[in-house]
Subunit: 261 residues, 4 copies
């Protein structure tokens, strides 16, 4: 079964910054999508902030198995309504891969429920990524550690909820560490945060980085039908109880009435 | 050290429903606060939806160690600004106990990042609460199981994030089960959800229910100073790096510039 | 890729108890293996306590992707050496599905590190299994709940470590609850405990039970090469450090010496 | 309530290695116990490998709230029977702090159920410990990071189960990272592993190291009565079921018979 991935890019710095444009002439989203398409099992397309509804229409999301998110310069420009729409699809089972500066995206903060803040330094320093969970599917084919020669530093404390599992931890030349790969589930949706990817460096041309992201897409893919019931809070009437019971005591609601929300 | 607890009550059904008013003539929040005050180590006061800023001013929250939340009829009436204010205090270390129908409160959904939906039935049926984590502080002095004769049923699937720990699971007469006691940490704030407490039954007069809630307040209390740094995303300049490094490669930001948010 | 499953059965009650023999004339292990083989993607064979090395030779385990374990009458008869051998393969990535009374097997207690005790009652009562994590792969195709008409009761407290995720919780006619489906990872090995399966009832002829177990095998399967490095504690000499460092201070070990174990 | 801590030391290198003897003339266990006793709320004593029953008699353990464990040179000399005795007390609620090379102790491997292996290098290099969970009680009063000038390197992959929470992560001068502070619960017992403490360096004279260990003792302390029921697997007879049920179907056990173990 081919996994339908959608790479969302903010697509600003690629157009206004010559360094970024030089590294990613067609946009970072396009580079990432191309690498995913090189894997036989994934069919990746792209969407950007500038498209109508940011390219994230109901129809588009309905046919997306895993969404990848890269944003940095203008998180605030993403419409709240679209954020809610994406969140609903995650609850129903769409996977979500949040990349680098996407830690401050509305959708990631929405799903984590926390500030998602961290320390940072733009010094082009060496980052060494260690695999701390080598049996995790996202670590498949990834060595014990690999190096990115020039990256932005992200340092702890990274204010996210304790993850289901920590997969990667980064060592930085300047003395910091960072939990660079972590997983969560929200509703039926699998979420993976992966740290690398500052736009002034060729990070998304690094084979190991793209191998991790490709693994992430496969891991995040939930092949089950959309869990649309996740949004419901159904009343179960007394007469339909699984075990025979009788009504006891007073009630707030009339029979068949909806609950308060 | 006395723990400063604040019991927030929506305070609607106590005023408009004669059954509820009969059970809780001074409001559920007052009954809960009284029970907490009966424990030597807690000083509990109350706040309600109807007060200015819902009784949750900056000053009030600053002197609150643990906030308890009961709402049902009108979650939507809580101002978004106050919800954000409470969330910030949780990140800084204020504990939060969410009770019963508070599962659909704005603040709980905000901190969980999920729908927090469930099944329900108002039949006054028997609920038996099982302790599945007897070594957890919240289970201190709680027996293997205890019974509430008449309660509303809440049934799975309860769409919350996988908790740090599951402490209690309920058995219902009508055939359902529910994870009735679960814990999470968000930032420096400890969060405990506890299921019982439908307003048409005398649940908050049940000694075991109040023992669990009292334990919850003690567990959720974080005596450390407020972790105000949790909101920051500080830049660490190259010249202040912990290990000596030199600037390499291009940068987006001018020296000293703020990051994008 | 076909998953190679090995169903291990204690194979005692099937031979000495006429009720069990009537339900499982070829042994429970054979019934389970047949159901797994009915799924296109799994190739299941069997092994029993009575075989040489309990049918769990090094060679056999080396070609096993997922091991299923059912034992009850004589856990103590499993040789400690074989238990260690199985544990090592789990660390390397072999999946393990522990069924019902296997909660007290040496291998489960070895991998959990806890007593794995529980309450029980052999009354043929009704068990209703609730899906509390509908997005988990093991819940694929499983309804919100399903019923087993006659089962042994297992009740909390079940003394296992907090799982990675809780997938199923059981409701029992007699008033108990039980966390019936839980997952852990140990080394590179995925572990799933699934409660149903008392030998005097036709539980392993129940289609939903076998669907869960089939899902469990697929989830537990780790397609990566065996993580044999999991057993090692390698010294990294100063001259091979990833960053240039110089020896400072005194040492216990001579250069090249093994560590203490 | 004063917490009764017991610091267990292997007490070998302190006697046979002049460097270690110079740093810890009365043994590392004594240094650690003295630092704990400097905190008003802890009463710490010591026990060593060389004492009868390694100083860990039933009586001694019964009056111990939190056990600290340092061993390295001769893990194998600890009697299996004593290991089981300690494990039982942990299940009942005794806290356990495992220090440094104690990662390979029998008791830690017993409770984790995994190899607990890691990489290492004895180069006296710089270790910087980062707090990744600043709201955790063990991080109380601990800064964002602190440095140990000379330490042994421990590197990932550290083959332990995914913890309840990760509290500290170490950065090493030579390029590695390590999850240096992690928590688990086993039965009613809280377990904290803390990495620093190679015997040829003055690590246990470092105030921040001892502050973390002191916090660890307080966090691990479970004031509840010993949970002796954790070892039991009681039968609940039909006639004592919480809900009225009738016997259905065949049974293996005679009424009142013990379960198989």
């Amino acid at each position: 079964m081919t996994i339908r991935a959608l790479v969302w890019g903010e697509n600003i710095h690629e157009r206004v910054n010559t360094v970024v444009a030089g590294l990613y002439p067609d946009g970072m989203h396009t580079t990432i999508a191309s690498a995913l398409n090189a894997d036989g099992g994934i069919s990746a397309s792209t969407a950007t902030l500038q498209e109508a509804e940011h390219g994230l229409t109901e129809a588009r999301l309905a046919e997306t198995d895993v969404l990848l998110w890269w944003g940095h310069r203008d998180h605030g420009a993403v419409a709240d309504e679209i954020v809610e729409r994406v969140a609903r699809r995650v609850y129903e089972g769409m996977g979500l891969i949040v990349l680098h500066s996407g830690h401050f995206s509305k959708i990631f903060k929405r799903l984590m429920g926390t500030p998602c803040a961290l320390k940072w330094r733009e010094a082009g320093e060496r980052e060494r990524i260690w695999t701390v969970n080598p049996g995790h599917p996202i670590a498949s084919g990834i060595p014990e550690h690999f190096v990115i020669d020039n990256e932005e530093m992200y340092g702890e404390h990274f204010s996210v909820p304790e993850p289901l599992e920590t997969v990667f931890i980064s060592w930085f030349e300047g003395g910091e560490v960072f939990r660079s790969g972590m997983t969560w589930r929200r509703g039926a949706g699998n979420i993976f945060y992966f740290r690398p990817g500052h736009e002034t460096y060729p990070t998304y041309h690094h084979p190991m980085v793209m191998k991790v992201i490709t693994n992430g897409v496969k891991w995040a893919h939930n092949p089950m039908p959309a869990l649309t019931s996740v949004h419901d809070a159904p009343n179960v009437p007394v007469e339909k109880a699984l075990e025979p019971i009788v009504q006891k005591g007073p009630t707030l609601h009339e029979a068949g009435e909806e609950g308060f929300k």
